[in-house]
């Protein structure tokens, strides 16, 4: 690991000041950052430890028709929270199906949504060609080991997938992100937090230098109780998704009034399947309707050899998630 300066921020104002240093990174749980610093993928000059900000940004609260989650809430605490489990099951499940108990105790929600891809060519610096790590160097994954990489939202510069689960639930439910930075406070739609790779896969989010995620706001709706997170993976626990679906349904009789669908594992960023949602509206939720929603969700998918099977796997994940959500008591 390369040398860095370590700064302990006592509060948010101090954190923002420290983060003015060149090449600074915020440190919360460290489960992505320390790992990637050991691998020499991330090389910060300054680490700003923001764990003390849990005093300001560590709350879980239901405020009116919104669930508020502070950025310094740990994954395990949000997953165990009774109101989250009861009213937002898709969020609780996305968290408890992620990582391991130790990592869920460490990782903050703000850091979790910013976790980096698991693409081997990004994580292993002995590969020269990675446009995300080394802009302009090419993409070794296009014709390489890409079984677990993305089929949605990819470009010819990068097919890295977004690996997380919680962010997929936030995308599906239309959450917003509170951000504080040198220029003040702003609110970003969660769907606009992550960027598609396009020609600049090294720019992953719309956050500006020094900006800090302070919390999330998730609107509740008639669909949030009838929601679930389905995660398909190579092993049963402690594994990233090959495909995942975050589904929330508002049903009247057996007919869909509103659907929310997020996709994980298969996409370059936390993915919301708007076309699939629109196609379900007003339809009776049966296998044919679920299948046509799945086809719509993957209409723009592009495979690169080894990962071709994940298009069909992703569709079947959507079908099963929709039908299981339809059977929930809500």
């Amino acid at each position: 690991m390369r040398p860095f300066r370590y700064e302990h921020a006592a509060d948010r104002a101090q954190a923002l000041t420290f983060a003015g240093a060149a090449d600074s990174q915020y440190l919360a749980g460290g489960t992505t950052l320390i790992d990637l610093m050991k691998l020499d993928v991330i090389r910060p000059g300054t680490l700003v430890d923001i764990n003390a900000l849990a005093r300001e940004h560590g709350e879980i609260a239901v405020e009116g028709d919104h669930l508020r989650l502070g950025a310094l809430v740990r994954m395990a605490d949000a997953a165990e929270h009774p109101a989250v489990r009861r009213d937002f099951p898709v969020i609780a499940q996305s968290l408890e199906l992620a990582a391991s108990p130790q990592i869920r105790n460490m990782a903050s929600l703000g850091g979790n949504v910013l976790q980096r891809t698991r693409c081997t060519y990004f994580r292993d610096t002995s590969w020269a060609a990675c446009n995300k790590r080394n802009p302009g160097s090419g993409c070794a994954a296009l014709a390489g080991v890409n079984r677990k990489l993305a089929v949605l939202g990819v470009s010819d510069r990068c097919i890295a997938n977004y690996p997380g689960d919680f962010a997929v639930a936030l995308a599906a439910l239309g959450a917003t992100v509170d951000v504080e930075g040198p220029a003040g406070r702003r609110v970003i739609a969660f769907e606009d937090l992550h960027r598609l790779p396009g020609d600049t896969p090294h720019i992953e989010t719309s956050l500006k230098p020094g900006e800090l995620i302070t919390g999330f706001s998730i609107p509740s709706g008639p669909w949030t109780r009838r929601s679930l997170f389905l995660k398909i993976r190579d092993r049963q626990s402690y594994e990233f998704a090959l495909a995942s679906a975050a589904v929330a349904l508002d049903l009247e009789g057996g007919t869909v009034r509103a659907a929310r669908i997020g996709l994980g594992g298969v996409a370059a960023k936390p993915w919301r399947a708007h076309d699939a949602e629109a196609g379900l509206q007003g339809r009776r939720l049966d296998e044919a309707a679920a299948r046509s929603a799945a086809e719509a969700a993957f209409a723009g998918a592009r495979a690169h050899g080894q990962n071709a099977f994940r298009i069909e796997l992703g569709k079947r994940t959507v079908v099963r998630a929709l039908l299981e959500a339809g059977r929930l008591e809500a």
Binding site: M1, R2, P3, F4, R5, Y6, H8, L27, G29, G30, T31, I34, D35, K38, L39, L47, D49, N51, A76, A99, S100, P101, Q102, I103, N105, M106, Q236, S237, Y238
Partner: protein, 203 residues
Amino acid sequence: MARDTGPGRGPSRRGLLTGATGAAALPLVAAGARKPEPRHAPPEGSPHMDITLSVNGRDHRLSLDPRTTLLDALRERLDLTGSKKGCDHGQCGACTVHLDGRRVLACLTLAASVQGRQVTTIEGLARDGGLHPMQAAFIEHDAFQCGYCTPGQIMSAVACVQEGHARTDAAIGEYMSGNLCRCAAYPKIVAAVRDAAARMERA
């Protein structure tokens, strides 16, 4: 408050192992034998920080490179080598310790970031000279082969019970999934956790 000292209970198991290996190897390498590098030499680069680590109820003043993980501080500075370095990337769980009573990975935790918090390692688990019920259960159920993952398994298992996640075998499997065992002693680990959970709840 101890400064840069270990537990101070005479020669450590690790010290003896190192010595024994050195003695066995001596005839082969005597001609080319070199003085070993001082083990506590600080790495070059970052300005050092003076911190206090609270481990198993004792405070330790340390001057550390900020890059030092909690795992390296425990093993290399405090001679608490029960916490193991397996992958060093948060994938195996061998380094599991408790931070303010919650299980975390010491390999992905910077020592500087846990000042003012209570660290418990496998060395701090036994009470009143007797083994913790989880340690006893692992021995009774023969819940290991090589033993390298065992301290992490036990620290994780104690937390698993305290969290209320050890009520069924399926729950134990799910909530112990962060601890890998390359010897695949999993069935016996599950049996040990189930047994210890019953004893811990009675206690």
